[in-house]
């Protein structure tokens, strides 16, 4: 195996594209090193992107924030404006692994890992986040939900690297929330998860919503029917029940050591309901506080 | 004579008796007499048995004296973690 430190995104992408063997990007390394240790990956080239200028920065952009691909989640958690604007994304990112893992892991890595159970991904999908991808050919922006394909698989092509994730601006009275189910209180992979992002009008009616589920299908799913079930409502009991039902219907999970099909399906509905309530309350609070930041 | 209480699965080799009487002054005597009188008990005794003597468990103490009125109970050899 060779290890290289890239000084620019272009250099990283070029090296990755040129490598005839198996090449991997190293950002936080919290998945990559585990897989290497397990002998699952015989990697020929590791490209460390952390030295690329700007890739560890969080920058304000068009009312939203651009999060560099190598920003560790612990750094994200300490960035108050991001946490205020997208609390659900922040809380999802902060759930990945332990404090030690937080010091290294990145949202971009969580996404590129391709796991349907990655905590950051449902929240990013619900947020409508955009991913910036660079390759020797140039730069393109893609919606987060278009990156994962299935377990361990993404639409990223050889020589393409994610350089940042963009969290957009949002209207007043908007908020998001993320919940996952794990058997312990920490240190587990999500058995099921749900992210809800929504916007309220002055009367407390939901005017826009996005609902995404994790660990209940081969990839994170954006559940349009679930959003539809709550848009136009004040999140009353009927809306919540319809939301849970729509989420259950969108599940296509597996039975494995972490959970059963029945458990995952039922829990996804419960979590979506609870996340929606949290997001709704947050939306009302931002309204009281005088709108979004 | 000492009355020795056996655990259930040993009854198979003592004609169904759960209490047997042997002449023994020590733990070693007891084991020897049991093996002689009930040869079917020998494999278990070779693997190891403990003896409860008036409520105190002895694991290997051959020379432990037994009084005729003592409560003597045979138990499997104790192991722990």
């Amino acid at each position: 195996m060779r290890y290289m430190t890239a000084q620019s995104a272009k250099a990283a992408a070029t090296a990755l594209a040129a490598e005839p063997g198996l090449a991997r990007v190293l950002a936080g390394g919290t998945d990559l090193l585990v897989q290497m240790k397990a002998g699952n990956l015989a990697v020929d080239l590791v490209v460390d992107i952390k030295k690329i200028p700007g890739i560890r920065d969080i920058t304000a952009e068009a009312g939203g924030f651009r999060i560099g691909a190598a920003v560790a989640n612990a750094e994200l958690r300490e960035h108050a404006p991001v946490c205020a604007l997208w609390p659900g994304v922040a809380e999802a990112s902060c759930l990945i692994g332990s404090t030690q893992i937080q010091g290294r892991c990145t949202m971009a890595g969580n996404l590129c890992n391709g796991s349907p159970a990655g905590d950051a991904v449902p929240a990013l999908v619900a947020a409508g986040a955009m991913v910036r991808i660079e390759s020797p050919d140039g730069v393109r922006d893609v919606a987060v939900e278009d990156i994962p394909v299935g377990p361990g698989k993404t639409t990223l092509k050889k020589g393409e690297i994610v350089t940042s994730i963009f969290l957009p601006a949002r209207p007043a009275r908007s908020a998001d929330a993320y919940l996952r189910f794990i058997p312990r209180t920490e240190m587990d992979i999500a058995v099921a998860s749900a992210a809800v992002s929504l916007t309220l009008d002055a009367a407390g009616k939901i005017t826009a919503a996005r609902v995404a589920l994790g660990a209940v299908a081969p990839k994170v799913v954006l559940v349009h029917a679930a959003a539809k079930a709550i848009i136009g409502t004040t999140l009353d009991d009927a809306a919540l029940a319809a939301l849970a039902k729509a989420c259950e219907a969108a599940c296509n999970p597996i039975d494995d050591k972490r959970g059963t099909i029945a458990f995952r399906t039922s829990t996804a509905g419960v979590l979506a309901r609870r996340a929606a309530q949290i997001a709704y309350t947050r939306g009302q609070e931002t309204s009281k506080a005088g709108g979004a930041i | 004579m000492v009355k020795v209480k056996l655990w259930g699965s040993l009854r198979h080799w003592t004609d169904g008796q759960s209490v047997v009487e042997v002449e023994a002054k020590t733990f070693k005597d007891l084991l020897d007499r049991l093996c002689e009188t009930y040869p079917g008990l020998a494999p278990q005794i070779r693997r190891g048995v403990s003896m409860s003597l008036d409520g105190v468990i002895y694991r290997e103490a051959w020379f432990q004296e037994i009084r005729p009125d003592s409560e003597v109970v045979l138990m499997p050899f104790m192991q722990g973690g």
Binding site: G29, T30, A38, V46, T99, R104 | -
Partner: protein
């Protein structure tokens, strides 16, 4: 596999070493530098016994490549006491019997120190969540949480 030559700083001391490109920092510390205070309990970031700080961030040394130490500042348990003067956390752990076998102790001390540097007055719950990545199988965590609080109080009043 071509070895790499790395220059780094460990516990304030300049250190140079060679390592394989795929060699975890933990192996470098333990096998090449004789710093065996960081322990390998799992090698996969699940137990926290190899906790060190890298440029001030708490990390698992098993999930960092030795190569990444180039130009970085690393702190390990061996650097926690100043000479024969134990850190308040170290003293609190001894005084409060916060260890039994002690294999998780170096990692927990490093993690707790990182916590108290960020939050001088954590609640018990905050300590428990911060340390969730540091497995201890002996103590049931009770005396560990108490010892961290004792040290925190002492450090606040210092």
């Amino acid at each position: 596999m071509k070895s790499l030559h790395i220059s780094t700083t460990i516990n304030g001391d300049p250190v140079e070493f060679i390592c394989d490109p795929d060699e975890p920092l933990l192996d470098v510390l333990r096998n090449r530098l004789g710093l065996t205070g960081a322990k390998e309990g799992c090698g996969t970031g699940d137990c926290g016994a190899c906790s060190v700080t890298l440029d001030g961030r708490l990390v698992c040394a098993c999930l960092v490549l030795g190569a990444e130490a180039q130009g970085a500042e690393i702190s390990t348990i061996e650097g926690m006491a100043l000479g024969d003067h134990l850190h308040p956390l170290q003293r609190a752990f001894i005084d409060g019997a916060a260890l039994q076998c002690g294999i998780c102790t170096p990692g927990i001390l490093i993690a707790a120190k990182a916590l108290l540097e960020k939050n001088a007055s954590p609640s018990d719950e905050e300590v428990r969540y911060w340390l969730a990545g540091n497995l201890c199988r002996c103590t049931g965590y009770d005396k560990i949480i108490a010892a961290v609080q004792v040290a925190a109080a002492e450090m606040r009043s210092a």
